[in-house]
């Protein structure tokens, strides 16, 4: 029973996953165009007049940047990658491939539906779409379909796992599949917030069926989803760090049990802490803000476990490769493999992302940085590095695997990962400092009248970092495009790309069976959400006041 038959993905499975990636990379390519334009604007170099026929404002561009990079690139990449970890981990095809196809095409229709109003400058409300700023109703329909599509794909994974469980009673769910399932189950619960926001408030309001929105309640709904959204971005990267990277580094996973405990804690704790985005909101009692601050501290814990387990796995690999002394194992890691270097560098950037995160979460400390450039500096270390750079690293083996073609240039890939690292260090440091000095986020600082001279050096560093990041993003896109349509097919078995699957030091089957048992965790998760959100939801919904008419920006 413990033998592991190999499973070769069928052609149609590979092309299904590839379709996800294609949309993801196109979104990244377009979304990333605006990053440097924003960063250049900060130091007074304004390209927007040149874009006028297509892009009419800084904010139309910023909406595209946020939506395409943070919502579309991530969601399409994640659903595609987790399709792979489901099938390949369980070594069986999807139970209902048609269901997953329906989910995918629902997301595509949603994407196109939301893209049209954004491109027509009818939805320049940024990716948080806070009312009373109002977008064309198709923007909301489109986002809804993207979320619903991702739900359907998630159901597909769950049905497939259940079928596998029937066929394999008593076997531990393979870690890569397990992590993916946790991600998708958490996502189902988490997205209830924006689902309710959009369906019960924003769509009727945009259609004129109700006269007003309740902006405070909308924020509460939004951040119910908004915080776990960051774990939706992050956990797939963790799947790779735990279940794949140790193998790529030439070693094994240090602890399968702790990896699973960390994933369970993320399920439990991802949702009930969204008020940490609303610390300075007028309509949420300070006591509840404080409780969510403490719960946010708790969710720091599984990330600290992850740091230890992943680094120890890497250390073990580095020592196997001949690394000596305290730190001698680090240079022995296979840095020349761009997939590895991308993920290692993403991990280093995430150290700083974590430090910023715990600072943001610290209740009153939030007064110092709320809505400043610091926040933007922070999430470029998390979603745009820990996640996005890891996804780029994964792509360096995944695209050759799916397309059966050799990576166009390893050298470019290596340089690309380092440029992202260096560019991001400069960019994010400048943004953090600007935030501490008081620079607001979501603001074209080049035209703001209150900007003191003191900021100019940092604004310039933002632009320099942004330029380096842009070069890096396009080296990635170019490399992937050349690989995608390359004529150089992988020749013979020795060139074949293998999906990296890390064994663990203690075989997974030795992990306690309880750590594969959903019921208690699901009950706990729902209970904690009810405790942390129930009273405020009752209060805020009970006092709903739909008095804010819409404003078209």
């Amino acid at each position: 029973m413990l033998t592991t038959p190999t499973y070769e993905l069928t052609k149609s499975e590979k092309s299904f996953i590839s379709q996800h990636l294609l949309f993801a990379f196109i979104a990244l390519a377009i979304g990333s165009l605006f990053g440097p334009l924003q960063a250049f604007e900060f130091s007074g170099v304004d390209f927007y007049p040149l874009l006028e026929p297509v892009i009419q404002s800084y904010y139309q561009g910023l909406t595209l940047h946020g939506v395409l990079n943070a919502l579309i690139f991530t969601t399409f990449f994640i659903t595609g990658f987790l399709t792979l970890t489901t099938i390949y981990g369980l070594k069986r095809p999807l139970k209902y491939p048609l269901l997953n196809r329906i989910g995918f095409w629902t997301m595509v229709v949603g994407l196109l539906m939301a893209a049209v109003p954004i491109l027509l400058n009818e939805a320049s409300v940024l990716y948080t779409f806070y009312p009373p700023l109002q977008a064309n109703v198709f923007f909301y329909f489109g986002l809804t379909l993207v979320v619903v599509g991702s739900w359907i794909e998630g159901y597909g994974f769950i049905f497939t796992w259940r079928e596998w469980r029937k066929e394999n009673p008593g076997v531990r769910t393979p870690l890569m599949t397990f992590g993916g399932l946790i991600t998708m189950v958490m996502w189902q619960l988490a997205t209830l917030g924006i689902a309710v926001e959009i369906l019960t408030m924003l769509i009727p309001w945009a259609l004129g069926l109700i006269d007003g929105a309740d902006p405070q309640l909308a924020r509460t709904y939004f951040w119910f989803t908004g915080h776990p959204l960051v774990y939706f971005w992050l956990l797939p990267a963790y799947v790779s760090w735990y279940a794949m990277l140790p193998k790529q580094a030439g070693g094994k996973l240090f602890s399968d049990s702790l990896a699973r405990i960390a994933f369970w804690l993320f399920l439990l704790l991802s949702v009930p802490l969204g008020f940490h985005h609303q610390f300075v909101d007028p309509g949420v009692p300070a006591g509840w803000k404080y409780i969510h601050a403490i719960l946010t501290y708790a969710v720091f814990f599984p990330s600290m476990i992850t740091a230890f387990t992943v680094i120890a796995s890497l250390e073990r690999a580095g020592r196997k490769r001949g690394g000596k002394g305290w730190l001698g194992w680090i240079p022995k890691l296979p840095w020349n493999d761009p997939s590895v270097s991308a993920q290692l560098l993403a991990g280093i950037l995430f150290f700083f992302g974590g430090i910023g995160g715990i600072t943001n979460a610290s209740y009153n400390i939030n007064l110092v940085i709320h809505n400043t450039a610091w926040v933007s500096g922070h999430f470029h270390l998390t979603v745009a590095s820990a996640s996005a750079l890891s996804f780029m690293g994964i792509s360096y083996w995944l695209v050759p695997y799916l397309r059966g073609r050799r990576l166009w240039s390893r050298k470019w890939a290596q340089i690309q990962t380092w440029l992202w690292f260096v560019g991001m260090l400069i960019f994010s440091n400048a943004m953090h400092v600007l935030g501490l000095l008081g620079a607001p986020r979501r603001t074209p600082l080049g035209e703001a009248p209150y900007v003191p001279d003191e900021w100019s050096g940092h604004l310039l560093r933002t632009s320099i970092g942004g330029a380096i990041l842009f070069v890096s993003a396009y080296m990635f896109v170019f490399n992937i495009a050349r690989t995608w349509w390359s004529k150089k097919l992988l020749a013979g078995p020795d060139e074949e790309v293998e999906i990296p699957v890390a064994e663990s030091v203690h075989p997974a089957q030795e992990t306690p069976a309880k750590l594969d048992w959903w019921t208690p965790w699901l009950i706990g998760t729902v209970a904690l959400i009810l405790v942390a959100y129930g009273p405020q939801l009752i209060e805020q919904i009970g006092n709903i006041d739909l008095s804010s008419p819409g404003f078209r920006p």
Binding site: E315, R316, G318, W326, F351, T359, I365, V368, V505
Partner: protein, 56 residues
């Protein structure tokens, strides 16, 4: 005495090759991380304190 010491040394060798791996490099890396974390977090905390109280 001498015999028993030798014995324990043998045992150590056997275990240290595969199973006994002490992640002391990890400990060092994370110690540095924690120091930086405390330093940066405390910096912002002190900025908070230096900018004066906001009461409700």
């Amino acid at each position: 005495m001498a015999v028993s010491r030798r014995k324990s040394k043998d045992m150590e060798e056997i275990t240290s090759t595969e199973e006994e791996f002490h992640p002391k490099g990890t400990v060092l890396v994370l110690a540095i991380f924690v120091l930086v974390l405390i330093l940066l977090w405390a910096t912002v905390y002190l900025i908070l304190l230096s900018r004066g109280m906001t009461t409700v």
